[in-house]
């Protein structure tokens, strides 16, 4: 092989690696999501369950759940958890209620993003119903009670006895459809 073809070969290969690494940057996005879902890192709770009375055998263990709420940036809303703490029995469904008020004199659509801490426990926090599943519309000055139905799975690790459920309301992104 002449020097020129060898150089060409090396160059092409390296350009290919460059493209590959550019792709890897993007591949980190789904990988990160998968990683977070498997490990419960970052407190992401994507665990949605359907309630099935028969299968639910509650355990005796009782843990504490704290409720927290935040409003992001320029969203002119106010949000408060009706209950700050609940003692819940594992494997049993409970309802928590938030009061959300629109202080703006016009309709605003918001989207709540949940997070559960500690990350270790977030995998075991399961919701059957939540206002965070869809966008929420509040009319001018409207106050709404928003409900989340959840259970804490009975396989919750022994060392976790306190879970914090935190919601942050964002202004919903303009609908893409």
């Amino acid at each position: 092989m002449s020097e020129k073809t060898k150089i060409k070969k090396t160059t092409l290969m390296l350009f290919f690696v460059t493209l590959l690494m550019f792709g890897f940057g993007y591949a980190m996005v789904p990988l990160y999501d998968v990683f977070c879902e498997i490990t419960g890192l970052n407190g992401r709770t994507v665990n949605v369950v359907t309630e099935n009375e028969k299968e639910n055998i509650a355990s005796d263990r009782i843990v504490r759940v704290q409720f927290d709420s935040n409003i992001n940036g320029d969203l002119p809303w106010r949000m408060k958890a009706k209950q700050t703490t609940m003692h819940v029995q594992l494997g049993k469904f409970y309802e928590a209620v938030y009061t959300v008020e629109n202080m703006y004199n016009g309709d605003v659509i918001g989207q709540a993003i949940p997070s559960v801490m500690p990350g270790e426990g977030s995998l075991y926090f399961k919701k059957s119903e939540c206002f965070c599943f869809v966008n929420q519309l509040l009319e001018a000055g409207e106050t709404k009670e928003m409900v989340v139905r959840f259970e804490v799975d009975k396989d919750l690790p022994e060392n976790v006895d306190l879970l914090t459920l935190s919601y942050t309301f964002f202004r919903a992104k303009p609908d893409k459809s």
Binding site: I7, F22, N42
Partner: protein, 527 residues
């Protein structure tokens, strides 16, 4: 090379020589001059920062402008000064060190240089735009960076330009080293500067495209409705930090490894001994490079990682101290019982070993997850990375310039002025950055234009050091210009103990060298 149409031995003259140049020496010179210019532009910004911090309260600039100074200073120093200076040295010296007539891809070489002025024109122009320049820090964390005004797309495209330029430079270096070594020179006979640049090039190729991806995601998040980092749309701003630092940590070694290479050339020359532990140096460099891809999250210990993550990244970070320690040990062992002399390049090299190690130690402190919570985002971090980048990378570059200046210009520089430059720089840099350790430990945050009066004294000392360091660098420009214009003639082998092929070509190095590959003798291959 057939791509070089002009085979006669004199350089084409005028502006066209520089704009159309495909000659590795000319392009190397362009890179070095560009880097020096950017060093002063970024330095001027640092002077504004230090002037504002001279006393508590707001004196000279408004906070928004202050923050854009901090941001742009970092981007310019990293992408405009240290990286191009390194690439410039690589262009100049690698073909000479491996006995090649030129770089493998001379036209791409030209392009990768000439992209830079355009990239920096974009970046610097943002300072004059509506809403000011980027002010969210060079790390560009969303959602803050998304609040940048008109400057935002310019910032992103400037980063793209700089990235493309560096990647092309890296591809060129690898293609050159792998295919154009003089017959008989094996990989393990290459000078260490060449080795460190090969490894750095791989880091560039692996890390910079990831940064390009990350900033593209920022761009589409802001303008095209994607939600990579927007929690409202199901994204996660912390993910940006992961992607950014996956690039950012290798980037640290992109800045540092060429410096290691330079020091490994200079110390043997002035110790008149072969480099101690050549093979271990190569392996240490490679292990640092590989490890640099698995430690990124030590930059983000405080984002709320689980304990296992903190521990993994902490231990992996500590592990890097081992190959780095091997290198420092080898440099000292090279000096041990050597017939040392202390010309300016050697002074800078020794200062590098000491001061870089101080920066390395504060890095170890920052790498410990439990204590990082105190140091995070304080001036302790600022002190740390300036010890490794200024008294580390920049000192090594200074050392390289003094070491090879006789080869480039054909004249010896003024040794007396060189020594004055060294001592003033070293004293000033320490007055500048050492107090910042104390400021950080006492809790002074980064990127804030005003501070509590308890920090006033150390900030004033630091600022005085800063002004002194800035002024001293004007002396450096004078020394370089003076040397380019004339002086004592340099011998082909300008330094008694210098080793390597570059000292077997005349001083100044003629426009074309090694057009026929050199016949290597045992002496030429000594390290």
């Amino acid at each position: 090379m057939s791509t070089l149409a002009h085979d006669h031995d004199h350089a084409p003259s005028g502006l066209k020589r520089w704009i159309y140049s495909t000659n590795h020496k000319d392009i190397g010179t362009l890179y070095l001059i560009f880097a020096l210019t950017m060093f002063f532009v970024g330095g001027a910004m640092a002077m504004i920062i230090r002037a504002e911090l001279f006393q508590p309260g707001l004196q000279f600039v408004d906070p928004q402008f202050y923050n854009s100074m901090v941001t742009v200073h970092a981007l310019i120093m990293i992408f405009g000064a240290v990286m191009p200076a390194g690439v410039g040295l690589a262009n100049w010296m690698i073909p000479l060190m491996i006995g090649a007539p030129d770089m493998a891809l001379p036209r791409m070489n030209n392009m990768s240089f000439w992209i830079l002025p355009f990239g920096f024109a974009l970046l610097i122009s943002t300072l004059f735009m509506e809403g000011g320049g980027p002010a969210g820090g060079w790390t560009m964390y969303p959602p803050l960076v998304l609040q940048t005004g008109d400057a935002f797309p310019f910032l992103i495209f400037a980063i793209h330009f700089l990235g493309i330029s560096s990647i092309m430079g890296a591809i060129n270096i690898i293609a050159t080293v792998f295919n154009m070594r003089a017959p008989g020179m094996s990989l393990m006979q290459m000078p260490l500067f060449v080795w460190t640049w090969v490894i750095t090039s791989f880091l560039l190729i692996a890390a910079l495209p990831v940064l390009a991806g990350a900033v593209t995601m920022l761009l589409t998040d802001k303008y095209f409705g994607t939600s990579f980092f927007d929690a409202a749309g199901g994204g996660d701003p912390v993910m940006f930090q992961h992607i950014f630092w996956f690039f950012g940590h290798p980037e640290v070694y992109i800045l540092a490894l060429p410096a290691f290479g330079i020091i490994s050339q200079v110390i043997p020359a002035f110790s008149r001994k072969p480099l101690f532990g050549y093979a271990s140096m190569v392996y240490a460099t490679a292990s640092i490079a590989i490890l640099s891809f698995v430690v990124w999250a030590h930059h983000m210990f405080t984002v709320g990682m689980p304990l296992k993550g903190e521990l993994f990244f902490m231990y992996a970070t500590m592990l890097i101290a081992v190959p780095t320690g091997v290198k420092v040990f080898n440099w000292m062992a090279t000096m041990w019982r050597g017939a040392m002399t202390f010309e300016t390049p050697m002074l800078f090299a020794i200062a590098f070993v000491i001061l870089f190690t101080i920066g390395g130690f504060s890095g170890l402190m920052l790498g410990m997850a439990p204590v990082d919570f105190q140091y995070h985002d304080t001036y302790f971090v600022v002190a740390h990375f300036h010890y490794v980048l200024l008294t580390g990378a920049v000192f090594a570059l200074m050392s390289a310039v003094y070491y090879w200046l006789p080869k480039w210009t054909g004249y010896m520089y003024d040794e007396k002025l060189g020594k004055i430059h060294f001592w003033l720089s070293t004293i000033a840099a320490n007055v500048l950055f050492f107090p910042q350790h104390f400021l950080g430990l006492a809790g002074m945050p980064r990127r804030i234009p005003d501070y509590n009066i308890q920090f006033a004294d150390f900030n004033m000392i630091s600022s005085i050091g800063g002004f002194a360091y800035g002024l001293t660098q004007l002396l450096f420009v004078y020394i370089v210009i003076k040397c380019a214009l004339g002086g004592k003639k340099a011998k082909d082998k300008a330094w008694e103990g210098a080793r390597g092929l570059e000292w077997y070509v005349p001083s100044p190095a003629p426009h074309h060298t090694f057009e026929t590959p050199p016949k290597l003798t045992k002496q030429m291959l000594e390290m």
